[in-house]
Amino acid sequence: MTAFTDTQALTAAPRPLILRRPKATTGFWSWFTTIDHKKIGIMYGATALVFFVVGGIEALLIRVQLAGPNGTLLTASQYNTLFTMHGTTMVFLVGMPMAVGFGNYFVPLQIGARDVAFPRINMFGYWVVLFGGLFLYSSFFLGGAPNGGWFGYTPLTSTPISGGALPGHGADFWAVGIVMLGIGSTSAAINFIVTILNMRAPGMTLMRMPVFTWMMLVVAFLTAFAMPIVTAAMIMVFFDRNFDTTFFVATKGGDPLLYQNLFWLFGHPEVYILILPGMGIVSEVLPTFSRKPLFGYSVVVFSGIAIGFLGWGVWVHHMFATGLGPVAISAFGLSTMLIAVPTGVKIFNWLGTVYGGAVRLTTAMLFSLGFIAMFTLGGLSGVLHSVVPADTQQTDTYFVVAHFHYVLFGGLIFGLFSGFYYWWPKIFGRMLDERLGKINFWTLLVGFNLTFFPMHILGLVGMPRRTYRYEPGLGWDTLNLLETIGAFIIALGTLVFLVNVIFTARKPRNALADPWDGRSLEWSIPSPAPEYNFAEIPMVEARDDWWHRKYTEDADGRLVRLPAGGAVDEADLDVAQVEQEHHIHLPSPSFYPLVVAAGLPVLGYAAVFLNPWLVFPGLLLLLFGIYAWGLEPSTEPEPIVALPEEVGAR
């Protein structure tokens, strides 16, 4: 079932292409050339975690500045840079890559595949995201970090530097950086789509797929269609800024609102790109720890798809105050209300899953339960925004900040933490400490609510967003102070998690293959997952296939354990033996995706500084990398080719 035995690869003579093909699959340097989806998944996760800490520190600085009126820790310019980078980081460098990391690791495992469809494109996507992030952050040392907001409204961002609207190269770095990150996430998305559609194990029909994989499929489609829109918008911003085009110049026939339409046509699907993976994780965790199947599987899946579609039809709700007229805003107000329906259905189905179950309150489960409650609160304040006249008061106030943090922190981040505790043993072969985990959960829950709940009130009583200071005497002081205290409790919670990670890394690698009594295929293989995932490609016979190999139901629908059902063959861990027995051909490591990815930031600097000399090394890296990549077989032929037998085996 591996896709890597194309005949050309096996018959072509190995030809050295300047760079000798890397062979190592272990050791420090192997991380730079690995095309193993699991290692790439870990790298995505680690990268996102580092950026989560960076974005969190930015948030803490913001909160300290706002702890009291007329804060003086930061200048206006520093504050504007920090809220821009906090938003950009959390969306593009934390939320998306973390979800892609989980997806990378677990989508192939959940569908019973040995690898992804495009291992090298997958590797390329990771390095582009890493380089894109480093490129964005290098702006701090190279002429000014982005300071136009993560949404970068024109004409503020598109006015040339000489226009004085926004000084420095920040907006250039931002526009080019987003284009790069878009290339990375589109690569990942295409890989997910093809992997999920083409590489499922026999019997793994679409409607037997775990919900997390389903949601990653929806997310991949959303990403593939949304990123081109924002890419176009960024290129227009960059051209207006540097080449005197007039896309957004009102005095020359351009329209600043064109940008907002483009950005939110990307930006709203982006919100679902961020939250759907969280919903997917929760849909895995809740059934596992309730010992019950997901309530209304097909409805949950279809709600996810419906959210994916409807997500394209609500973008104007970010623009209710722009003066589009009553008909347009009524239509988009109604479509926004509509999207609450499939979302509500999911919430009830999750509660239905837990109802009547046998609930084990593990850390993973606590985070998933927290997700349900916190995400619901975020959804409800979202419904208040669909009440357009009310939104004209709340827009651009702290009420909105409260709303989307309930969705993205209370939702996505809680979901991701749930995923950490749930999947950690499968990834690293070690269980995260549950006692620290519970401290982690409760501090985050308390800190989160203390930080973000008062923001609802502050918004309603008039506090606007994106302001680096506020006057005393407006009655906002106490709540802001509470929020700042809350932010530090969140930081403490995150610190507890990091301590847990370090603490766990020192423990023996002794996690069971199936520590939670899991349901999906990733629990049928040893922990950590071996390089080839499945020694034998599973034959899937049911939804929650692994569960059904362990349990059956009696006449009353009660669980009955099958005798000796679902034993994981730990002998599968004997790599040499398994490879010999099963003739597994995994794609070989490669340098070239890294080389191609390295060309992009060079071209990025060429664009930001309009420096033609940087174009040459950038293009050279890019073209050489693509050319060599194209000529390199995906799997290096082995000295003894087991081809006839392999073909015969099918």
């Binding site: 006249p389 008061q393 509470l482």
Partner: protein
């Protein structure tokens, strides 16, 4: 840990949260920028729509949170009791029910929502006062076209009368960035978009000062781009308006030998010329404006710098000497940007702008600043 103790903890937490809510609300109750304390017809309509929907949202939020806690505790794992629960895979009737209930709830909310949207879009009354608002980085210009009056940062309106506002980001052939006009106690937000003329109707039901704030991030000093609406009785308003139509108390110019005006030979006008204030400001004609606030009747205002500072002698002296030290402005580094347009007032004590001869101007001494401030504060 037994369930009752746990639930009492939740009650405690919820109680604490409620206290926080109340504390926050009460502190800001009379801050003049409170959307929950409407003083205008439109703000009232919005609040009347918001309140019941918010109550429903809070109830649903409490219900779902409560249900989550309930199922987690009620169905917790008890070895030997429920470790092999009944495997329910779904229930079509239930699922249809909880699809329909939110849909119906939303439909009920949708009706008044759309109704209010169209009510708020209705044109103003015939006797409405016409005002044009122009958003700049980082201040507001208010024009009364019928009275030919231009002022800045303090919008005077008569009570109980519609004020029809036109919102623009462009004048004198150039456009600024997007700003957003928001006086929460009078009405909702409306953006100020280059190339468009947006409209908004506000009215105030009682005299008083209502605070406003630019709500769309517009660069460096967005936070400081505040303003205030001063609602007055009809007669007070007319009195104020006719005052604005008068010429200045102190004239910047006198008729020269050839009949054309020349800068008056008095200390303050000479200093105003020396420091090139007239490049951006207008001092003796309340009907026009250039790049910066019209100062003809500066002393009739209570605040300056977008309402951030009280208009006092000492504040004004500080401002004249080093405005970017009080409100961050892009003008601080503008001498480093060749051919750049400097946004905001320059400092006359640090990094001073170039004079007519291309050399930096000398620093403004405290005496000079005092002289100008005295003169300006007589301009009622």
């Amino acid at each position: 840990m037994t369930p009752p103790r746990k639930s009492s903890r939740f009650v405690l937490a919820a109680g604490a949260l409620a206290l926080v809510v109340l504390a926050g609300c009460s502190q800001a109750q009379n801050n003049h920028q409170n959307s929950l304390d409407p003083h205008g017809a439109d703000a009232e309509k919005i609040n009347n729509l918001f309140t019941p929907v918010a109550v429903v949202a809070i109830l649903v939020g409490i219900f779902i949170t409560g249900a989550t806690i309930y199922v987690a505790i009620r169905f917790r794992y008890r070895p030997g009791v429920n470790e092999n629960p009944k495997q329910t895979h779904g229930n079509t009737r239930l699922e249809i029910t909880w699809t329909i209930i939110p849909a119906v709830l939303l439909a009920i909310i949708a009706v008044p929502t759309v109704g209010t949207i169209f009510t708020l879009a209705e044109p103003p009354a015939d006797n409405a006062l016409q005002v044009t608002v122009i958003g700049k980085q980082w201040w507001w210009e208010f024009q009364y076209p019928d009275a030919k009056v231009t002022t800045a940062n303090e919008l005077h309106i008569p009570v109980n009368r519609d004020v029809a506002i036109k919102l623009r980001a462009c004048d004198h052939g150039t456009c600024n960035v997007i700003h957003s006009f928001w006086v929460p106690e009078l009405s909702g937000t409306r953006d100020v978009v280059p190339g468009r003329t947006n409209t908004l109707v506000i009215s105030a039901d009682q005299p008083g000062t209502y605070l406003g704030q630019c709500k769309e991030y517009c660069g460096l000093s967005h936070a400081n781009m505040r303003f205030r609406v001063i609602a007055q009785s009809a007669s007070d308003f007319e009195k104020w308006l006719s005052g604005q139509q008068q010429g200045p108390v102190n004239s910047l110019t006198t008729p020269g030998p050839d009949g054309n005006p020349v800068i008056a030979d008095e200390p303050a006008p000479q200093l105003i010329q020396k420091f090139q204030c007239t490049n951006c400001h207008v001092f003796d004609d309340a009907s026009t404006s250039t790049y910066a606030p019209n100062l003809t009747h500066l002393a009739s205002r209570t605040t300056f710098a977008s309402g951030y500072y009280e208009l006092t002698h000492s504040n004004l002296v500080k401002w004249l000497q080093n405005a970017p030290g009080m409100i961050p402005m892009e003008s601080q580094g503008c001498r480093e940007i060749p051919q750049g347009i400097c946004v905001g007032m320059p400092s006359f004590t640090e990094n001073t702008p170039d004079g007519p001869n291309g050399k930096p101007l000398p620093e403004m001494t405290p005496d000079q600043a005092n002289t100008i401030a005295d003169w300006l504060l007589e301009q009622t």
